[in-house]
Every structure is written in structure tokens, then in C-alpha cells.
């Protein structure tokens, strides 16, 4: 399964989910981005890819984020990702929590992305 497929399968039912950036009208949503590190080299060819993922939860200040945070952590565990760390990046525009975790698949960077 590609990284995007895995992310959509795990988190797509929690909230509206968008890659990279979202500029629409939703107030509570998820955004993800990742970079890829090639691993498991043989004859100078990568045979696995490690994805370092940021999943951003945005919601208004008035909302309680706890149930969504828990759903994200559970989806990480159930979706084959590493356990996430979380950074609170909230500002005057709203709550913003950044979950960081990893995903791995075989076949190398060019076969799976």
C-alpha cells in the first residue's frame, strides 16, 4: 500500500483530510505532508522507503480536541504507523496540533510513491 493510500485509509474517516495545505471553508480538518527516506540498499538500489509524516489537526479554539486526538492516535496504531509524537502549534487563528510518525513500505521510493 502506498503511503497516501495508508494515510487516507487510516485517517480519512475521522475528519476531512487534505494533502499539503487546505484553503477551503472547513473549520475542523486534517492536513498531511511527508518526506521520504530511501532505505535497505542492495547494489545501490533502495528496496524500502521510510516516510516521515506530519498530520495536522486544525480546529477552532472553542472545540474540545481530546476525542479527535485519541482517534488519531488509535488510527496510527491500527494503520501500521509508528506511535505519534505531538506538538501544539496553536496560534490566534485556532488550535493546531501536529502529529509526527513514520510509515514504511517495500519496493523503494520510486515504486511506491
Amino acid at each position: 500500500m502506498s503511503c497516501d493510500e495508508a494515510i487516507n485509509a487510516a485517517f480519512g474517516e475521522i475528519l476531512p483530510l487534505f494533502p499539503n495545505v487546505y484553503t477551503g471553508e472547513e473549520l475542523t480538518y486534517l492536513v498531511y505532508n511527508y518526506y521520504v527516506i530511501p532505505e535497505v540498499y542492495a547494489s545501490s538500489v533502495s528496496h524500502a522507503s521510510r516516510y516521515s509524516i506530519q498530520l495536522h489537526l486544525y480546529l477552532p479554539h472553542k472545540e474540545n480536541p481530546n476525542a479527535i486526538k485519541l482517534a488519531i492516535i488509535n488510527a496510527c496504531i491500527g494503520g501500521g504507523f509508528t506511535y505519534p509524537s505531538m506538538t501544539n502549534a496553536s496560534d490566534k487563528d485556532g488550535q493546531h496540533y501536529v502529529f509526527e510518525f513514520e510509515y514504511c513500505n517495500g519496493g523503494g521510493v520510486y515504486a511506491q510513491t
Binding site: V21, T23, N33, S52, Q54, T87, A89, D91, V98
Partner: protein
Amino acid sequence: MPRLDLSGFEELAAAFDKISNVPEDVQMKALTEMEEVAAAEIRKSGEAYGVRDPESPVHVLDSIKVNKPKKTDSGGYADVTFSGSRTRSGKQVRQAEIAFINEYGKKNQQARPFVGEAMNKNAEAIAKAGAEVILDWTENNF
């Protein structure tokens, strides 16, 4: 009948002895070398992500500071920081805050995790820079 052998414990113990004798100034030098590599890679990663704002005279990538390592009971540590601040729309903003917003993004602004990616992709090179200082000392002193 299969036979299992274990050997090399004396060499292993001798290697630990060598490491335990590495003086403080060599440990601090190793940390500084690691910091230098980390700072250069963070700067390079920031350039690749387009973190540099060409209109700003005092830029976040030019504020990356390699600090003097500090000793602890178990060894030491060193911080690579974003120092100083700059004026933005008439308001004073810390460079560390600008780096944070780039790293994690904000509403309507995509994250550019230039620090995390630099550290993640170059962990081996950063460790190697410190290891070379330690190995150089052990080879010249034993």
C-alpha cells in the same frame, strides 16, 4: 555435536576503557563538530524548502547558531538554535518563532519541516563527525 564459541570480550572491554578515558575537551570538540554538520544541513534543507525570504535583510537561515557545548554528568550536549529577531510589519518577531512556523506550518500555510528532515536524513553523517574526533583521539593516545 555443534560447538558455540564466544570471544572478543577483552577487546570489547579495552575499547570501553579507551572511550571512558576520552577527555572533556575532546568530547566537547566532538559535539561541536556534530553541531557544525547539523547546522550546515539544516541551512541546506531550508534553502531546498524555499524557507529563505529574499525580501528580508535578516533571514532565519542566517540566524542558525552553533552554541558552545555544555557538560553534563553523563557526557554533554549542544544546542543548534535560531538566534535574534527581526522586524515584520512593524513588529519584532523572534527567528526561532519563524523557524517553528516554517517547520509546522499554520492555517493556509504548508509546513516545511526543514529541521526535522535535515536531522533525520543526516543522522549518520552527524554522528560520524563526532565519532571521527573520538576515534582520532583514541588512535593517537593508545
